[in-house]
């Protein structure tokens, strides 16, 4: 809001250009340059955020008058089965997204960091899912998951009998199936980040440790891994965000079904706000989802920052 009050600098800056080294800078000059982006940021990011927070306390439906309803949306939310199903599914996404891509991505990066013949090809192969739009990934994987789709056919070729596995129809399996498609994309991404990280690891350090008698595993654990720490921090934050905002694959592959068993908070929010027109309720879900992300990220960043200081 304060930025609105700052005067526009057009004429003064021209005058100042003449002196190559201005003796003193006016305090408001940086703000003047920032004014445009800040106005946009407040209009399109901060403003809507607070409006959405306000909306979560109303019975907004997109058309009728908005009335203040206090905490009713939140009370309803915590008693809603679908909310808890979605919440625990988000937790599943989170666990899978933090563990598996880091382990697999790091392993792949370590393999491809050596100049073996053909690594370029495989690197490109593992990274290529990132290039594909998530909608396409969702559609392709739901074909592969069909009862007579690629995966089931392969399993039966390998000698599996009986009814095909209902990857997307079995309530117990469905979330993991969708996470599987998500991981396929994420692993390549994490691999790429680690490859970049490994390029910055000083090989002389590793070699020195080997000369001093460390085993390959020891030098990996005590030299390479700590040096990769900054990359790992970034990857954990990105994976957390990706897991919490997972929506596209769920919406494309099952739309939360069967009977909401694969729903996640973002999917539930979408259905409530745009299908059921319960904008206020949808805003309440968005607020909770936002809070969860905020707490997780702040906690993690805070902890790692502290560790960095201790070095």
């Amino acid at each position: 809001m304060a930025t609105m009050a700052t005067p526009t600098p057009a004429t003064t800056t021209v005058a100042e250009k003449k002196t190559r080294f201005p003796r003193r800078t006016n305090w408001w000059v940086p703000y003047a340059f920032l004014a445009m982006p800040l106005i946009l940021y407040f209009t399109w990011v901060i403003g809507p955020m607070f409006f959405s927070l306000y909306m979560s306390f109303t019975n907004a439906d997109g058309i009728s008058r908005m009335d203040w309803v206090g905490f009713r949306n939140y009370r309803r939310l915590f008693n809603d089965d679908i909310f808890w199903v979605s919440f625990w599914n988000n937790v599943r996404w989170l666990i899978a997204f933090i563990t598996i891509p880091i382990v697999l991505g790091l392993s792949l990066a370590l393999i491809f960091n050596n100049d073996l013949p053909g690594t370029r090809f495989f690197k490109a192969g593992f990274f290529s899912p990132m290039v594909v739009s998530s909608v396409v990934i969702g559609v392709v994987w739901s074909w592969m998951y069909q009862p007579y789709g690629l995966i089931n056919e392969m399993l039966s070729q390998l000698g599996r009998d009986g009814t095909p596995i209902g990857f997307l129809s079995d309530p117990k399996l469905v979330t993991w199936s969708i996470i599987g498609a998500g991981l396929w994309r994420q692993v390549g991404y994490v691999m790429l980040l680690y490859l970049a990280g490994l390029k910055n690891v000083d090989t002389t350090l590793v070699e020195a440790s080997r000369v001093d008698g460390a085993s390959a595993f020891e030098s990996f654990r005590d030299i390479v891994l700590p040096l990769l720490r900054p990359v790992t921090v970034i990857i954990v934050v990105i994976s957390t965000i990706d897991a919490l905002r997972s929506f596209d694959l769920v919406n494309i592959m099952t739309r939360g079904g069967p009977f909401n068993r694969s729903s996640v908070l973002a999917q539930m929010m979408y259905i409530e706000a745009f299908n059921n027109y319960a904008m206020g309720y949808g805003a309440a879900i968005a607020t909770i989802l936002g809070l969860i992300s905020l707490v997780l990220i702040l906690y993690y960043l805070n902890r790692t920052m502290k560790d960095e200081m201790e070095y």
Binding site: N59, I63, S64, G257, P258, E272, F274, N275, N276
Partner: protein
């Protein structure tokens, strides 16, 4: 980068092309005399799109004073955007939508143009069947909706498989169960269905409830005035459970979209599919000779017969600054001539009774007769009830499908949702 460029190109194309097309058709006149009608449509598939273009072309030929600017939105996205459209200060003049409850929501919010004058002027009360007139009125009894087409729902089946199993078309529930048994006996799955999008299961619920408890109870339930955990509703689900216990449906229906579930039927492994007339759009044309339909079997002969027959059409925004244009376009859309042409281009049967019945093929005629002989026409579960309720309800049907023994618990939870939804409404 490329995405934004593409969207930009698309937008500028849409903005540039629409007036071009329209402008080419109208005779060159002074711009001030022409009045533009904004038409927002959800017909995003190629066929409906072509039909709408044809409709607009004919309308403009007859009314050279008007130019129609068509704006097509993808079908599902339209359902969300229509709220923004109608609530904005400058809404489209005419929009596609669904008759009945879905339309009444907007009428209640005073967003729709009252069409009483147009109905009177064109004598439409004489031209549309009573059931259609009913779903074109708002809760206040005024007309807000111009219906164009409607289509029947029925049990589609393959006569050759019935012959193989030596069974006749069933009329009662007992007959129907016997047909299922006979089909199972020759190694066929009686019924196919794809419930990945769960609305297909809602058709089963509609029919079980209407056949068991009658259309009046059904509509009261849709309006939130009856309880989902009542004995009546449990009885309706009881019939459903009979079919599930017999394994009459294909396994894992949740894995298929409704079109995917046609495959076992086309391949001759499944015999029947409860579906709307639009099944013909997706069914392979060369196999359609071996496809027929029958009315959903009667469960209780003492109960009036209700059928699902969703009605589509158009309405105008209350804020339109072109009332005359909206009237002209809607009036044209309601004519027998326009609806007949639309049917010839592949639309569902028109609602105007002046349409020459000889244009209808035998199957369409049979469906229309079925609807005319019924006592009540429902719009379909997700059109008859509150959208929030529909979402929860259809989800509950699939849960029941997976876990039939928990019916009481599922219905208790569903009724809690009903209480909440209709309390919010009040």
């Amino acid at each position: 980068m490329s995405l934004s460029r593409r969207t930009f190109a698309k937008r500028s194309m849409a903005a540039g092309a629409a007036p071009l097309v329209a402008g080419g058709l109208t005779l060159p006149r002074a711009a001030a005399q022409e009045s533009t009608i904004q038409l927002a449509s959800n017909g995003s598939n190629p066929e409906p799109k072509k039909r709408l273009e044809e409709l607009v072309k004919r309308f403009e030929e007859e009314n050279a004073d008007y130019k129609v600017e068509v704006n097509v939105t993808e079908h599902e996205a339209f359902k969300q955007q229509i709220r923004t459209f109608l609530a904005s200060d400058n809404p489209p003049d005419v929009l596609t939508w669904f008759a009945g409850n879905r339309m009444r929501f907007f009428a209640d919010n005073e967003l729709l143009l009252n069409l009483d004058d147009l109905y009177a002027e064109q004598g439409l009360e004489e031209k549309f069947p009573a059931g259609i007139l009913e779903v074109s009125k708002g809760n206040d009894g005024h007309y807000y909706f111009m219906p164009t087409q409607y289509y029947h729902w029925a049990v589609y089946y393959r006569p050759s498989l019935f012959e193989e199993a030596k069974v006749e078309v069933p009329e009662t529930w007992e007959d129907f169960l016997a047909v299922c048994d006979a089909l199972t006996g020759i190694g066929k799955t009686p019924l196919t269905i794809g419930t990945q999008a769960p609305w297909t299961s809602a058709a089963w619920f509609d029919y079980f409830n209407m056949r068991t408890n009658g259309p009046e109870f059904h509509i009261e339930l849709m309006d939130g005035k009856q309880a989902y955990n009542s004995q009546e509703v449990k009885d309706a689900f009881g019939h459903w459970k009979e079919l599930l216990d017999k394994n009459a449906f294909i396994p894992q229906p949740e894995a298929y979209m409704w079109q995917d579930a046609l495959t076992p039927m086309v391949q001759g492994d499944a015999a029947m599919y409860l579906m709307g007339r639009f099944i013909l759009d997706s069914y392979p044309d060369e196999a359609e000779d071996d496809l027929d339909f029958f009315r959903f079997p009667i469960i209780d002969a003492g109960v009036p017969v209700g059928e699902d027959a969703p009605t589509d059409g158009f309405f105008a925004s209350a804020k339109t600054d072109n009332v005359e244009g909206a009237h002209a376009l809607l009036g044209y859309i309601g004519t027998a001539e326009s609806q007949q042409k639309q049917f010839e281009l592949g639309a569902s049967p028109g609602v105007n009774i002046d349409i020459d019945p000889s244009i209808y093929d035998e199957n369409t005629q049979k469906g229309l007769t079925m609807l005319q002989e019924s006592d009540y026409i429902a719009q379909f579960y997700d059109r008859d009830t509150h959208p929030d309720m529909a979402e929860r309800g259809m989800s509950a049907f699939i849960e029941f499908w997976n876990n039939p023994d928990d019916l009481d618990g599922i219905l208790d939870r569903l009724d809690e949702e009903r209480k909440r939804v209709y309390e919010d409404e009040a």
